[in-house]
């Protein structure tokens, strides 16, 4: 009985992973197909769709925007999140729970729900549709993400260490520069990579806020898939593969620092 149960669970997991392989594999194979129509594999292969999609979808410009957005969001999220996480980890104050809730909500509430009012506001101030608008909007969930990833790293750093540094004559600034920051490097790296890869893959907010010149790769991909039929599906899949390569390269880096189970839920320990 117990054995049967485990076999069933295993089969399900294997099936699920196969389904992922199928999903990713289809896109990959299709991007190299000259034509592919209801056969296990295409009859002829080509790499031409990559050049085609690079040209047709203006991927040079899209990629530039993507990287600018991802880098800016990461830098801003770390810059703003670092002191916030430090203070949350170190000090108890009356508004702490309210603040934690404020930081928690943008992660909990789906982006479509607050994205529409946010887009409304940003368009009203004429930031909507620009690269700045996309960065500003993405920062709303990414800043809390950075804070919650950094928080345990700061909690790990023993207060005694800080006291020891102070006792030995380090000023507040020196303490930060010589003790806290070096010790926080792994945390910053983890948070930075996670924010980077999440921003690149973040769809809803970018979609609502981007205009003609400020689309990131996922949004461009969305429009291409949405308008399937306008261009050969193989070229759409070629773009998808470029996107996939970008995300996977970063994911490999991310997984060097975090366990897969840590990637999904950073919040349960907080409530």
């Amino acid at each position: 009985m117990g054995r049967l149960w485990h076999v069933a669970v295993y089969l399900f997991v294997v099936g699920f992973v196969l389904n992922l392989v199928g999903i990713v594999g289809h896109v990959l194979v299709s991007s190299f197909a000259r034509r592919w129509f209801a056969t296990p594999l295409p009859n002829a292969f080509t790499t031409a769709w990559y050049a085609y999609s690079w040209r047709e979808f203006q991927l040079d410009q899209v990629l530039t925007v993507t990287l600018v957005v991802a880098a800016s969001v990461t830098a801003l999220a770390l810059g703003l999140g670092f002191p916030a996480a430090y203070l949350l980890a170190r000090h108890d104050f009356r508004a702490k729970n309210a603040l934690l809730l404020l930081f928690f909500l943008p992660l909990l509430i789906p982006q479509m729900t607050y994205g529409i009012p946010l887009a409304t506001t940003l368009y009203r101030y004429r930031i909507g549709g620009t690269v700045a608008g996309v960065i500003a909007a993405n920062l709303v969930p990414m800043l809390p993400l950075a804070i919650f990833v950094l928080l345990p790293f700061f909690e790990q750093i023993s207060v005694n260490l800080e006291w020891a540094a102070r006792v030995h004559g380090a000023s507040r600034f020196q303490l930060f520069r010589r003790v806290i920051v070096p010790l926080a490097v792994p945390g910053l790296l983890t948070a930075g990579l996670l924010v980077l890869v999440t921003t690149i893959a973040n769809f809803e907010l970018t979609f609502l806020l981007s205009g003609a010149g400020s689309q990131t790769l996922v949004v461009a991909l969305y429009y291409a898939v949405f308008a399937a039929g306008m261009r050969p599906i193989y070229s759409v899949d070629a773009m998808a593969v470029i996107y996939m390569a970008l995300v996977l390269a970063l994911l490999v880096l991310v997984l060097r620092f975090v366990r897969p189970t840590q990637m999904v839920f950073r919040l349960d320990r907080r409530n």
């Binding site: 896109v27 789906p110 479509m112 729900t113 366990r259 189970t261």
Partner: protein, 275 residues
Amino acid sequence: MLPAAIYLLVMFVYPFAYGVILSLQAKGGGISVANYLAFLLDPWQVRTVWVTASIAVPNTVLTVLLALVVAYSMRRGVWMERTITTALVLPIALGTVLVAEGINGFYGPKGWLNQGLLALGITDAPRLTHNYTGVMIALLVQHFPFCFLMLLGYISGIDPGLEAAARVLGAGPWAIFRRVMWPLIAPGVAIAFALVFVMNFGVFPSAVLVGQPAGATRTIAIAAYQQAFEHSDMAMASAIAVVMGGCQLLGLGLILVIRRRMAATGVATVGAGKR
């Protein structure tokens, strides 16, 4: 600290409040609930609530149940665990759009799956993409790994000694689950339920790309989006977003109430001789 808090106040709380106020503004000025009435009285619009719920509720139950079963069975580690968990991170990292495109190909009428079925002689397999089923598949592919990894992290954090203690005291597999593990996992399952439900209720790209956005899978997020960007009616769009948020809150509240009930009626506590 301050800059981060101020940023979120300005970019998160303010737009939200602004959206609520905007939704309450009548066309000519003044406060009215006209936008909400318009939404609720238009069958085409109000139907989206039902459509979204009929996707979100069954999908959430299925996702959490499957994830719970698999995570619980894998709590003491299994063969190739690292590979499996890494593979499961893929759809989370790749995001909805790519997964949607892949599903359209793989599960499509010309995809590998259907080819396989045809080879097995199954010629009348139901259509799996661009309909309700497609959205269900897309959401499951997206949220099962999320939910599984979260619950696995949660369950493997429980002291294995508790299980050993229960066994020595005479508890079989079912008693261990029911009396020891479940009460300890239940809070995690409630959180998983809440998160998956909320995500499911806001479904947008999957509903458009793998679904039937003009019909069977016209979810409330699509309605809000169309109102804002196709009809440029920000007030009405905000009203719909508020309704969407309200439904999500309602779902969250319900989950919390059920969780309380369960804790209070002794599902989570083993009273001596309570049975």
